[in-house]
């Protein structure tokens, strides 16, 4: 396609604008965490002149953010492990077995994935307290399954459908059981989809805000997002620590994104909310 000069200028001009639009808040997050308080509140500068790690030290030592990071990790990893196993079984059952009501369950699963938790936090709160799980990490591990399992099942259904069943049928002709064929043939072939669903369920659990806000009330059970949101109202000159905390909270997600980008794109293309 031939491109006119005006067109190219417009394209790159807009691209530059968008990059700037995304970069400035990110730049500000990082540099705020690195500037001493004096440079944040008195002696303003666009670039850090005396970079320091004191905010990271303070958010870890004084605000004990590591406790909250540990809470978030425990909830995220448990939720992810349970989700991947349960979703893989369910998706396998729906895609590879034939019984009545199968498609219907698929539909309910998608419906639930789309139903926001804002609709359910009040009854879930009442249920969690009546089970004696109020203010525990268990309440989060349990209730997070209500959105991670539907999402990952829906994604894996798409993935499993894209793999021809003939491969498993051949294995079964050779004497493999149906479950054996799933473990030896389908799951290894679906590895990218499984990785993607693990990444998504961890991310969903790590970022979840409303239920964690409602269910947990003290430092020993708070996850990272709740802890940071509590710090906002606590103190006025808190922004250095908050941005340091925000960076620490973004690191696991950033790592997963960069490791998993390939898998996530593949997994998304096969199932889920295909663009």
């Amino acid at each position: 396609m031939r491109e006119t000069l005006a067109n190219r200028t417009l394209t790159y001009g807009l691209l530059g604008l968008f990059v700037l639009m995304v970069a400035v808040p990110l730049f500000w997050m990082v540099t705020t965490a690195l500037k001493p308080n004096k440079d944040l509140y008195e002696d303003f500068s666009y670039f850090p002149r005396r970079p320091t790690l004191e905010h990271f030290v303070r958010v870890i030592e004084r605000d004990e953010l590591l406790t909250n990071i540990r809470n978030s990790l425990v909830v995220g990893l448990t939720t992810t492990a349970v989700t991947v196993v349960v979703s893989a079984l369910t998706a396998f059952s729906i895609v590879r077995y034939r019984y009545r009501g199968r498609e219907w369950i698929g539909r309910v699963i998608l419906f639930k994935y789309l139903l926001p938790s804002a609709m359910l936090f009040v009854p879930l709160y009442a249920i969690v307290t009546s089970l004696g799980l109020g203010n525990t990490l268990k309440s989060l591990m349990l209730t997070y399954l209500s959105f991670t399992v539907p999402f990952c099942t829906w994604m894996l259904m798409g993935y499993f459908r894209s793999i021809p069943p003939e491969l498993e049928e051949h294995a079964m002709v050779d004497g493999c059981s149906k479950i054996g064929a799933m473990i030896r043939i389908l799951l290894p072939l679906s590895a990218p989809g499984l990785v993607a669903s693990a990444i998504f369920s961890f991310t969903l659990a790590w970022n979840e805000f409303l239920l964690a806000l409602v269910f947990t009330v003290d430092q020993s059970t708070m996850t990272v997002p709740i802890k940071l949101s509590m710090m906002v109202v606590g103190d006025q000159y808190i922004w250095g620590q908050l941005m340091a905390g925000a960076i620490l909270a973004s690191i696991p997600i950033a790592i997963l994104y960069f490791i998993g980008q390939r898998f996530v794109v593949q997994g998304l293309a096969a199932g889920a909310v295909k663009g």
């Binding site: 500000w28 926001p116 009854p123 307290t129 409303l210 973004s250 909310v273 663009g275």
Partner: protein, 314 residues
């Protein structure tokens, strides 16, 4: 059989040669298949269906935490509807949703069009512009709260520096700017979802269509209007519906940026339900607020469910 043929991508019709198995084996197999569904069914019943029904019961009761709650008929609904805060929240939810979705749609489309050009380093820019969507939402809103800070925030400093403002503006705590600021922060976070979905759609449109449009002398705008847009109709529909659901139910942007203030200028219905249930401790009223939004939401969700299901089966 229908299922099996559909999942294949080959054009050759598959002869039905799979041998019939003895009924016992089929029966056992079905049982195993259903058994594998059990955990998910338990989760759906225990954590979705039951709370859903329970929520509707709650909205007809005066339950608080610690008390059992009696049936009070429509009292909660009457109270909530007469509550001035509820009308404010309803209006704000609509304003927030409509404005934010419109901005995300336009911005997402322009970004997708730019990324769809032949530019150097396209993969890098695509990954980079996706960052706001990848970052945890709570991180994004905390960063924007700091950007909007009236005393030391970057936006005030920059605008004063450039001479656009004479005095600092408390963007998040003035009635005239609070809602707009929340919308800006939310749009920044969520536009990449639109962009990436539209971009994926644009890449499935055949180049020949553009070539023949060019031969016919179509301008850039005409190509967009008559080739790109029609090719994207379905994706635009799905993305708009999904985003409307998510935006109308957003809690974090408002809770983390303004807490619903100043004097309810940014109060949306999710936050109002939170305040009624968790701050005022009146679960019945909180449930009534959610229940009032239920018909609209279920309608939207059903629409997307049907659209996506059709697509998945196609």
């Amino acid at each position: 059989m229908a299922m099996r043929q559909r999942s294949l991508t080959v054009d050759v019709p598959i002869p039905e040669t799979v041998p019939r198995r003895p009924w016992r084996r089929v029966d056992r197999e079905q049982l195993v298949g259903k058994a594998m569904l059990l955990p998910t069914v338990l989760i759906l019943v225990g954590l979705v269906l039951y709370p859903f029904v329970y929520s509707i019961w709650l909205s007809f009761s005066d339950k608080t935490i610690g008390s059992a709650g009696r049936f009070v008929g429509l009292a909660n609904f009457r109270y909530v509807i007469a509550w001035p805060q509820f009308s404010t929240a309803l209006l704000n939810t609509v304003v927030f949703t409509v404005c934010a979705v419109a901005i995300k749609l336009v911005l997402g489309m322009v970004v997708a069009l730019v990324l769809n050009q032949q530019i150097r380093g396209r993969n890098f820019f695509r990954a980079f512009l996706l960052l706001p969507w990848v970052m945890p939402a709570f991180v994004v809103y905390l960063v924007w709260r700091w950007l909007f800070d009236p005393l030391s925030g970057l936006i005030n400093y920059a605008l004063l520096d450039l001479g656009i403002l004479k005095t600092p503006v408390a963007f998040l705590s003035e009635r005239s700017t609070a809602m707009a600021s929340v919308i800006v922060a939310h749009s920044w976070r969520a536009f990449p979802f639109f962009a990436i979905s539209f971009l994926a759609g644009m890449q499935t449109i055949a180049q020949e269509l553009y070539d023949s449009a060019q031969v016919d002398g179509a301008s850039r705008w005409q190509q967009f209007r008559h080739v790109t847009l029609p090719g994207l109709y379905q994706i635009i529909g799905v993305v708009l519906l999904l985003s409307t659901i998510w935006t109308a139910n957003a809690f974090e942007p408002v809770y983390l940026l303004t807490g619903g203030g100043p004097s309810d200028a940014t109060m949306v219905y999710t936050l109002l339900a939170y305040v009624a249930g968790m701050v005022n401790l009146r679960l019945g009223e909180a449930a009534a607020i959610s229940t009032l939004f239920l018909p609209l939401l279920v309608g939207l969700v059903l629409a997307v469910t049907i659209l996506l299901h059709k697509k998945a089966e196609a």
